[in-house]
């Protein structure tokens, strides 16, 4: 084994635990990628190479899957990740005001991370909580009926590291 490969193996021991159960099985690439992303927060090129080697899938195929699905991220987000739901109900009920608030307050647009690495922002197609629109997801927590004022309070609450 080449030196780089050995180093890679050492670094990704934890991931290997996950990949082990998928080896030789059909149709598991998306699952493996999701779990890797869960583990590291995003999928670096190195992680993708590792998955490709371990599952014996061409790297081109791995990257084509990663680029197809919007949930796979190849860049790290902020320490606190904010998702604004852009479903129809949220749109009709003013989710754009929330995006504007974030732009004004912490100078950030969807797909960006603040300079201090504290907040990351993205939109999500619909979390299915339409009756509590507009909805915001911060980390794993879903918060409904949010307006600009509430969002500012939430920034304060979640902004501490």
């Amino acid at each position: 084994m080449k030196r780089t490969a050995i180093k890679r193996k050492e670094k990704y021991q934890e991931l290997d635990g996950v990949l082990e159960k998928y080896k030789g099985r059909k149709g598991v690439l998306i699952k493996a990628l999701s779990e890797a992303q869960e583990m590291y927060g995003f999928l670096s090129r190195e992680v993708l190479i590792h998955i490709a080697c371990e599952l014996d899938v061409p790297l081109s195929e791995v990257t084509s899957v990663v680029s197809f699905y919007s949930l796979f991220k190849t860049e790290p987000s902020g320490r606190c990740h904010i998702e604004i739901c852009s479903g129809t109900a949220c749109y009709v009920k003013g989710m754009q005001d929330l995006l504007e608030t974030l732009e004004e307050e912490i100078n950030i647009k969807p797909g960006e991370v603040t300079g201090d690495g504290r907040f990351g922002l993205s939109t999500v197609n619909c979390v299915g909580a339409c009756s509590a629109a507009p909805v915001v997801k911060i980390g794993d927590e879903l918060i409904g009926d949010v307006d600009s004022k509430r969002l500012k309070q939430l920034l304060g609450k979640y902004g501490h590291d």
């Binding site: 999701s34 084509s64 197809f68 699905y69 949930l71 009709v92 754009q96 979390v127 909580a129 009756s131």
Partner: protein, 618 residues
């Protein structure tokens, strides 16, 4: 069959909840409104009064009337306490549970008469519904013992002991059930085709992708009654001769994934999944596949690619999945709600089901109501119920004294219904005639403050982003459509642009590879058909009548919010703001759009000319 059920019941023997118990709505909207915290507070109070051993606190799926959330129902009376906060926990336990007093201030009052409505049955929201699919949602916890105490898995036991696979299919054919995922294809015919198809193995897929951004009935069913979906899948497997099933759930629904995982584990333990189900010789198992954020994966051929673990690229049909699906084998794909309809049909007979609904559309449909509507949430009514009954009689109409303008159905593949359609019976055919589709049942209500050009632009932006790019027509067609709509919304449109939109729509409809591209023009065509005047106002008068499109909207003071403090008047550098009666007004001829007043107003009463352009999705 009786023996089978008794044996089964012994295996899952759970304790029936006592008469006095509490039921909390644990649906996702309620979670987002703080029901977890309320739950913890109630548990603390139960502990405080040493009642934990005596009074059970159950968490159910979505009870449907989300406007009331977080909600706690006190049984046996069935009293519904609504919009609860952590502080209310103590008074409910002390006042109601211990003191036997009704807490009037926590009860729902009728929107019009202000009359107190204590129980679900008292509310028009529930009284006018017919809950078949949602029979268990928000009524019982999503566990096997509760499901079984409500006739759960009795249909499966009946089929395995009394009906041949062919008879199961006959029952479904007789019921007239059509797919609830949008297409409306007769379910019985699909099953029959899969049964007759040749293949080494066969598969059943439950489509839980629920891509329409504004629909949430499938989520609620998977979370609130996962066993009904499993039972429907096992029955489908038995009918077509499949041994393996997949449930494809979108990644945005983590709670649904968890509830389904639990349900699968419970079912396996009860010998309802796996080898030799209920020792009747039929084997079937189910695996969950979680999506990764791609709308097109709801389309059946794309979904199959995604289940196989690759990019969710659609492919041309035929071959249809019933002959060549997952791994090239015959595959039945059905929507969550379709499958949840199966157990009651098998139990009560297709004949019974076919008596509900209209001539061509049998049974009920669950609609997910959201947007500018008083009681947003899930409403299940017989097919053929009118839009007026759903919006005004069940869901309480439009809040804040606003006018109903349109209801959007079918999401990015659908269209809108207007005041002229209020008495239209909601079923597959009449919605199609009106230029929309029933779709998955998402129904977004819009009031006078919604701009229909903006709505068309929203859906076009969605379709453009979600176009997978495989076929050129859709990839470029959706982009051009969006560009034209942006031009119109920005006040740069011409009347030729409308004709251009129509011809692009024609092209997309005829030449796209899959349903995404073929239906992408629908929101545009439907708004053009019903709200052409609004498009023309944008084009000819450079005016957005609803005051939404940023480039065509000037600064205005919203009277209902203005307190007449005069801060805006003081700060305006152009002297454009003056007092008019109790409130202030902006003279559009003098206004220079600097937005100083927007920032100054402490009551957010000035609606500014927004800088925002296209919605950036990322």
């Amino acid at each position: 069959m009786i023996n089978l059920m008794t044996g089964l019941k012994e295996r899952v023997a759970g304790t029936k909840p006592r008469e006095r118990h509490l039921l909390l709505c644990g649906g996702v909207p309620c979670l987002s409104l703080g029901c977890r915290q309320v739950k913890e507070a109630v548990m603390r109070e139960l502990d405080n009064y040493k009642l934990s051993g005596e009074i059970e606190l159950l968490e159910a799926g979505c009870i449907g009337n989300c406007r009331l959330g977080p909600t706690l129902i006190v049984y046996p009376e069935g009293v519904v306490y609504r919009r609860l906060t952590v502080e209310n926990a103590k008074e409910i336990i002390e006042g109601h549970v211990l003191g036997g007093r009704l807490l009037e201030h926590l009860l729902h009052r009728d929107d019009l008469t202000n009359e107190i409505q204590r129980r679900r049955e008292d509310m028009p929201f529930y009284r006018k519904q017919q809950r078949l699919v949602l029979r268990n949602c928000g009524v019982i916890p999503p566990h096997i013992e509760s499901y079984m105490s409500n006739q759960g898995y009795a249909a499966l036991a009946k089929a395995l002991t009394e009906l041949s696979p062919g008879q199961v299919i006959e029952e479904i054919l007789r019921s007239g059930l059509r797919g609830r995922g949008g297409g409306g294809f007769p379910t019985g015919r699909k099953w029959q085709a899969a049964r007759e198809a040749e293949g080494p193995r066969k598969y059943v897929i439950c489509n839980g992708d629920e891509g329409d951004p504004g629909a949430f009935m499938d989520r609620s069913i998977m979370e609130g009654d996962p066993h009904s979906v499993l039972e429907g899948m096992i029955l489908a497997g038995y009918a077509v001769g499949a041994g393996q099933g997949y449930i494809y759930v979108r990644a945005e629904y983590p709670l649904a994934v968890r509830r389904l995982e639990d349900a699968i584990a419970e079912a396996r333990k009860a010998l309802l999944l796996g080898n030799n189900i209920l020792r009747q010789g039929f084997s079937f198992d189910v695996e969950i596949r979680v999506g990764a954020g791609a709308f097109v994966c709801g389309e059946e051929t794309a979904l199959i690619s995604s289940v196989e673990g690759t990019r969710g690229d659609p492919s041309p049909r035929p071959p249809f999945p019933v002959s060549k699906g997952v791994w090239g084998c015959p595959t039945v794909i059905n929507n969550v709600e379709t499958l949840a309809n199966i157990p009651p049909i098998i139990l009560n007979g297709g004949e019974w089901f076919s008596r509900i609904g209209t001539e061509s559309s049998k049974g009920t449909k669950v609609f997910a109501l959201a947007g500018k509507i008083r009681h947003s949430g899930l409403v299940e009514v017989p097919m053929g119920t009118t839009l007026r009954e759903v919006i005004f009689e069940i869901a309480g109409g439009i809040p804040d004294n606003k006018e109903f303008k349109a209801a959007q159905t079918g999401g990015p593949s659908g269209g809108c219904l207007t005041t002229g359609h209020l008495d239209l019976p909601l079923d597959y055919e009449s919605l199609r005639e009106a230029g929309s589709i029933i779709g998955s049942g998402g129904l977004i209500v819009m009031d006078e403050d919604t701009c229909m050009v903006d709505v068309a632009r929203y859906f076009s932006g969605f379709n453009r982003q979600e176009s997978c790019g495989k076929c050129t027509t859709c990839r470029i067609g959706t982009k051009r459509m969006l560009e034209i709509l942006e031009k119109i919304a920005g006040g740069r449109g011409t009347e030729e642009d409308l004709a251009r939109l129509e011809s692009l729509a024609e092209l997309l409809r005829n030449a796209s590879l899959c349903g995404l591209g073929r239906s992408a023009p629908n929101p545009v065509l439907s708004t053009l058909r019903h709200f052409r005047d609004e498009y023309l106002a944008h084009i000819r008068e450079k005016r957005c009548p609803a005051g939404v499109c940023p480039d065509l909207t000037r600064h205005v003071i919203r009277e209902e919010r203005c307190r007449g403090c005069g801060l805006c008047h003081n700060i305006c550098p152009a002297g454009a703001i003056s007092k008019e009666g109790r409130t202030f007004r902006i003279d559009p001829d003098k206004c220079v759009d600097c937005s100083a007043c927007v920032r100054e107003c402490p009551f957010e009463a000035v609606r500014g000319r927004k800088r925002r352009k296209e919605l950036t999705r990322a």
